[in-house]
Each structure stands twice: as C-alpha cells, then as structure tokens.
Homo-oligomer: 194 residues x 2
DNA sequence: TTACAGAAAATGAACGTTCATTCTTTTTTA
DNA sequence: TAAAAAAGAATGAACGTTCATTTTCTGTAA
C-alpha cells in the first residue's frame, strides 16, 4: 500500500527543458529524447507526467502564461488611478520580458505559430482580465481612447514582444532610457488628448 | 543538345504550397511529400528547384518579403512630405496584410521562430531601407520622435501584424473605421508634439 | 515536314534515419 | 512487500533525400 508521488522537481525540469529547447530549435525540431536528456530523465518517464508531446507543450504554455500574468499584476491594485495602474502593469510586463526572457520568448513563439491548441490559447487569455478591466475604467473616465481591447493591446503591450525579440537576437540593447521612451510611445498611442 | 527550362509555374506552385502548409501546420510539421502533393509534383522534383527543405523555406521567405516591401513602397516617393509619406506606406502595409494575408501570416511566423536562417533574415531586412530613410528625414525635421528604428518599427508598424493575426484567428474584424483608429494610434506614438 | 538523338526534367519507389510512443523489467519507497 | 515510479530497449510509422528509370522537349538531319 504505497502512495508515492511523482516528483514536482522532475515535472519542472521537463517544463524548463521544453522551454529552452523549443526556443532554440522550435517545437517539431525538439525530440522527446532530447527533452528527456536535458531533464535527466528517461523518455518513458515523460509519459508519466504528460499524455504526449502535444500535452507537454500545451501544459508548458499554460503554466508560463500564468506566471507571466501573475508577475504583471503583482504590484497593481484596482484602487489605483488609471494612468498609474497602466504604468505599473506596463513596467512589470517589461521587467518580466527582460528578466525572464526565455519564458517570454517561448510565449511569443506560441502566439505566432500553430504549435498550441486553440483550447490552451483560450485558457491563457483568461488571466489578462485585470488589464481589460483597467482599460474599461479608463475609457469610462475618458482617459483612454475608445478602442477595442485588441487594438489597445496591439499598441500598448505587444510592441514589447517585438523589442524583446530584437534584443534577444542582439539587434538592440534596451537600456533604462529606451525603456522609458517605449513607455511614452505606448501611453501616447492609447491615451486621449493630443 | 536540348536547352529545356525548369517551369516557373512549378516553382511558384511549390512556393505557394509551402506558404499555405507552413501557415496551417508549421515548418517541421509539413513534410516534403505534402508540399509535393499540393504542388502536383513528385517529391523528387522539389530537389531540382531547391537544395533541400531549409533552402526551400529560406527562398520562400526572401521572395515573400520582397513582394511585401515592393507593395509597401509602390505608391511612395521620396519627395513626399514626411507625414504624407508615412501615411501612404502605413496604409499600403495594412492593405498588404489584409489582402495577402497568407503571405503576411507566413512572414509573421518566420519572424518569431528559429525557422529561417539568420542570413536569409538579414537579406529580408535590406528592403526596408526607404522606410528608415523616411524616418531619418522625419527626425531631422523634428516631426518624428528621436527614437531608434527598432523602436519606431515596434510601435508604428508591428502592431499591424498582431491585429492581422487576431483577425485571421477570427478574434477581430478590422473595418475601415478601426483601420483609421489604428493609423491614428501608430502616428500618435511616433510623432513629436503632444 | 518528319524522325530521331540526346539531354534536361520529372517521376515513383526505395533507403537509411529519426522520432513518438510502448513494452518489459528494474528500482524506489511508504 | 507490494505497488508506484522510473528506466532502457524495442517498435512501427513517418520523414528527408536519393536512385534508377521514364517522359518530355529541342535542335538537327534527312
């Protein structure tokens, strides 16, 4: 009558190996055997933790996305004024993308390829709700342009992904000043008043 | 002593099949056999036109990128005022992404994955020069914020890719009005004066 | 105008390799 | 000690590429 438990360390090692290898080679170019080797585990062991390769990458996506949004909203409170709230969230997102760049690269790759199930994609979007709520408030107060959420995201948040990828390729080095410029551009594009 | 020529139609069919299949399934999930079938050609024939699978996708990328930039600058002249020039180029890019959405999706996927050689990527960037020149002019005239080219691209052009992907997934429908809003946001983020 | 030779182009089948997954056995631990 | 966890070897399918052969086409000679 045993009641062993699968090791959470092993699961984490598998998830981290997946992120690193998929970042370097892409999903279909990373064999399960390589993931296993990097996680110091037998290929067969992966199937104790995940149903199959697709499940492994879906679960990895959802987990990373959850970390991302938790980080983004960690210092934000709904009682903040709209402009301050946006500033706080924006800078947390920027910090995440720069500090946890492997995670951020993985998400960027997932968001632009047919690598992830549509269901898992939906699951990942849910956690952005606080930002959408903030925007709704800003629009009601006349501080933020009356644009759709997709439009606001496209101009205020998504450019950070582009800049992060450029930085990771070595095309750009984002210092503090450039980051402030980026924030200015983001805010300029969504605030009302010219 | 014959002097046959390889059919340009066959080459085009191969390129188009590659775009469509890679868009749907990703690079490593599209077998050469499937590309061949869609192009109505034997798998072996691909190797008369391209060295190997990597070469096929690199060449496809460069060709699509060239079409994209040609389209973008087709109605632009260097004698235009900066603001008008930007407006013209921006709208042409938007038009390309909406009309030739398969091509645009393919480029977006290439730009965020390790699918393409670094050399081919460099090759593709070259053709953007007219836009960089326009920005240099705008900065000199004090019309455009003194930001790096990457920063300007991130805020003025790249959001269109995000919106196009969202539209292709069915999350958004970009009508004329929304497109004008998008242009406004783009211009707001890079013009001087508040 | 036709017939033919020869080379390029195209093909389908075959090859060797790699991969995701499973099977059988061993190890670990409550 | 018994069952879960882990392992390594095995399996069958699928892949990129090549090979041996056939088809297509053009320049030339009759």
């Amino acid at each position: 009558m045993a009641a062993l438990q699968k090791s959470i360390d092993k699961r984490n090692a598998l998830i981290n190996a997946t992120i690193e290898l998929v970042n370097n080679d892409g999903f279909h170019a990373t064999p399960m055997s390589k993931i296993a080797k990097m996680a110091c585990v037998s290929p067969a062991t992966i199937y104790l933790y995940f149903e199959n390769k697709q499940d492994l990458v879906n679960k990895t996506y959802i987990e990373v996305k959850a970390n991302y949004t938790a980080y983004a909203f960690a210092t934000y409170y709904e009682t903040m004024p709209v402009e301050e709230g946006f500033k706080v969230i924006w800078h947390r997102i920027a910090e995440f993308k720069l500090k946890e760049s492997a995670d951020a690269m993985f998400l960027a790759q997932c968001d632009n390829t047919p690598m992830i199930d549509e269901a898992s994609r939906q699951e990942g979007i849910k956690h952005l709700q606080p930002l959408l709520d903030l925007w709704a408030r800003g629009k009601k107060e006349g501080i933020i342009k009356p644009l759709s959420d997709y439009m606001l995201y496209a101009y205020a948040i998504n450019p950070l992904s582009f800049l992060m990828i450029a930085q990771n390729r070595g095309s750009v080095k984002l210092d503090k000043e450039q980051l402030e410029q980026a924030y200015e551009a983001a805010w300029s594009s969504i605030k009302t008043c010219k």
